[in-house]
């Protein structure tokens, strides 16, 4: 049996992942990662935005659903933060922090949720199904797992075109890891040896389904070796660790190492969507270490290490609120799409559109 050996290897990676330990002190100390504060601000902005979206949804101002990344902002922000111009990002439904850090304007979010005709999806698609493929932010389809191979394809194309120094990062949940599409995409990434980082967030639930009905291996990071990826475990509630581990993974693929799989552990601190009260999550689970709120943990670190003072923190908070309010107000004033003005053509080649009925 391989398990003992594997466990040892894993705890090794875990140790690497948990970053310098931070001593509390009154004097300003170095942050646990040089982009810690920058990352924290994206997390703060995301939390502020998503709380606002939730309240709009509760107020009946958003049609469809709202899906937030509460509790996953630290992992997500690290996914977006280390990507550069030319890199590819394939976020999923809990990646607002990463999207923002990658460069997605808040207005894209509010326009999409509020169904503005001017948004990137023009009312055609909603909520988290948005992207800017021309800016290398892929627009996810719902079918989980399907974005991995698409990301692989963008990277193969870049290599074929002779681009240099690019990487791709794709996000997945532990639920999505069970799809066939995910498996095929992972294997292909390894066969093609594209510079891909896959960040899997195990938030312990796929909708209402707990881990024990999702998979039966001891640790999902054990899948890395079976694909020929390098695998790392990560405490997703620890922002410093997220920046270290995901930042290093990005650095490694950029330097030509094999594809990287990072498996982060957190708890989803919301319902699956805002329609879901998540009453199926037992209290006991909420008391686990992985259930900590990464935003609070990060803020505590800031306070403990005295990285910035309370006034600055307050200013950041206000600033986040202002940005969110502005993005919402702007989107709310924008026109909605209208059925009879819409261009009902699914092809870019209008001349090739099928005409099932005679023009009237």
């Amino acid at each position: 049996m391989l398990q003992t050996a594997q466990r040892t290897a894993k705890s090794k990676t875990k140790k690497a992942a948990s970053a310098p330990s931070h001593k509390t002190g009154a004097d300003k100390a170095a942050p646990p990662h040089d982009r810690f504060l920058e990352a924290f601000r994206w997390m703060l902005l995301t939390r502020t935005l998503e709380e606002k979206l939730v309240s709009l949804y509760r107020g009946g101002l958003i049609t469809g659903g709202v899906y937030i990344g509460k509790g996953q902002e630290a992992v997500s922000v690290a996914c977006g933060l280390f990507l550069q111009k030319g890199d590819i990002f394939a976020p999923l439904i809990r990646d607002q922090a990463g999207r923002s850090a990658f460069g997605e304007p808040l207005l894209d979010v509010t326009r999409t949720y509020l169904g503005s005709r001017l948004g990137p999806m023009r009312g055609r698609d909603g909520n988290i199904h948005r992207g800017h493929p021309r800016n290398n932010e892929l627009a996810m389809v719902s079918h989980l797992g399907a974005m991995i191979s698409v990301t692989v394809g963008t990277l193969m194309a870049k290599r074929l075109k002779g681009d240099k120094n690019f990487v791709g990062l794709a996000c997945i949940g532990e639920g999505g890891m069970q799809t066939g599409s995910f498996h095929e995409g992972m294997n292909l990434a390894a066969v093609e040896q594209v510079p891909l980082v896959v960040v899997a967030t195990n938030n312990h639930y796929a909708y209402s389904t707990p881990n024990d009905r999702e998979f039966a291996c001891r640790d999902l990071v054990d899948r890395a070796i079976g694909y020929g990826f390098e695998g790392y475990s990560l405490d997703g509630t620890d922002l410093g660790a997220c920046l270290d581990v995901i930042g290093s993974a990005v650095k490694r693929v950029r330097a030509g190492r094999p594809p990287q799989l990072v498996v982060a552990s957190v708890l989803r601190l919301s319902g699956h969507g805002e329609h879901d009260d998540a009453s199926y999550v037992p209290e006991e689970v909420k008391r686990q270490p992985f259930a900590r709120d990464c935003l609070k943990v990060a803020e505590q670190t800031i306070v403990d290490l005295n990285l910035v003072d309370a006034e600055t923190l307050g200013k950041w908070r206000k600033d986040a609120i202002a940005q969110v309010e502005e993005a919402i107000a702007a989107a709310q004033q924008e026109p909605a799409p209208e059925g009879d003005k819409e261009d009902w053509c699914a092809l870019s080649n209008r001349g090739l559109a099928d005409q099932p009925e005679s023009p009237e």
């Binding site: 049609t63 469809g64 698609d125 909603g126 199904h129 069970q178 009902w344 559109a353």
Partner: protein, 322 residues
């Protein structure tokens, strides 16, 4: 008492689990205290321990598993979280379940429930109507209930049938449709229903488009037209005889469907009526489908994308003038 379309589906499953120990339910989030994304299995896991099981996000394997269980004499019901995700299970459905009886002489009695069709704000991947794909391939029965009563009796029938059944339940009808009580028995599988009698024009439809068709018929009644509305109930087998008999009475045919325009149920109905009942027609048969684009998220777009009572009525009026 008043019962919704969704509750009828839950009740049917409760009855099936109660009456037939071969039945079990497999799908994402169907079990536990949760009872499914739409609560169609609410409470059943508790009432029937070990027989309402949560599955991983693995549609291909979920259906494969159901097929294997069916081979061993079970009667599995699979819930897809949304019909749209059955694209992942399509190979198992078409090539494994659909071919098995013909190849080996052993039928595969599985029922695959597909929460289908558009609702406001659901967008391109949570709104699809896939009956046309499944009906195109051999070896499957494709049900598309349009009433609370049919939702109930047809699901019970689906599980009783030895062959694989794709049961397309419409999400829009879940809460919109109510009945006073559930019937013991419905029409036989494969028989269409005259939902409304008339003599000026036949509208053939199914699933949620029945609502729009019936509303259109009512609107036209105010103008003095008597519209007959036929509910296909199953799109495969398709009850050509009932449709032909109706067209024989009315001379005019309008087919209304919510799926995409190219080659769906509406095309099939028109092809059958014109090849078998050409001389019954007094005017060109017409059809109305969704538009040939993905299904839009925004309610303004969505309500234009799908056929609705207004444009069904308009199309019918046009056809009545011919």
């Amino acid at each position: 008492m008043s019962i919704t379309y969704l509750e009828a589906i839950r009740e049917a499953q409760a009855k099936l689990l109660r009456d037939d120990e071969r039945v079990f339910i497999y799908g994402q989030d169907v079990g536990g205290t949760f009872g499914g994304a739409f609560k169609a299995t609410k409470g059943l896991a508790k009432e029937f321990p070990g027989r309402v099981l949560n599955a991983p996000i693995s549609e291909d394997a979920i259906v494969g598993t159901a097929i294997g269980a069916a081979m061993q004499g079970m009667r599995p019901i699979v819930e897809m979280q949304f019909a749209d995700f059955s694209s992942i299970a399509l190979n198992q459905i078409l090539n494994q379940a659909g071919t098995h009886y013909w190849r080996t002489n052993m039928p595969i009695p599985i029922t695959v429930r597909l929460p289908s069709g558009g609702t406001k704000g659901s967008g391109p991947f949570h709104s699809q109507s896939m009956e046309s794909i499944y009906a195109h391939y051999p070896g499957l029965i494709v049900m598309t209930p349009a009433t609370v009563e049919d939702a109930y009796t047809m699901l019970i029938e689906a599980v009783a049938i030895d062959d694989p059944v794709i049961y397309c339940e419409h999400k829009y009808l879940y809460y919109h449709l109510k009945a006073d009580q559930l019937p013991e028995k419905g029409l036989p599988t494969g028989r269409a229903r005259i939902a409304r009698e008339g003599r000026d024009l036949t509208i053939v439809s199914y699933s949620a488009m029945m609502q729009e068709s019936l509303a259109a018929a009512e609107e036209l009644e105010r103008d003095g037209f008597e519209i007959e509305v036929v509910d296909l109930r199953t799109v495969k087998p398709l009850d050509t005889d009932t449709v032909l008999a109706s067209v024989a009475r009315t001379g005019r045919l309008l087919c209304v469907g919510e799926s995409f325009p190219w080659g769906g149920a509406t095309a099939e109905v028109i092809a059958r009526v014109t090849s078998q009942g050409f001389h019954l027609l007094d005017a060109a048969p017409q059809r109305l489908n969704a538009k040939d684009t993905p299904i839009p998220y925004h309610p303004n777009l969505w309500s234009t994308h799908r056929p609705n009572a207004k444009n069904v009525a308009a199309k019918a009026r046009q056809l009545l003038r011919e």
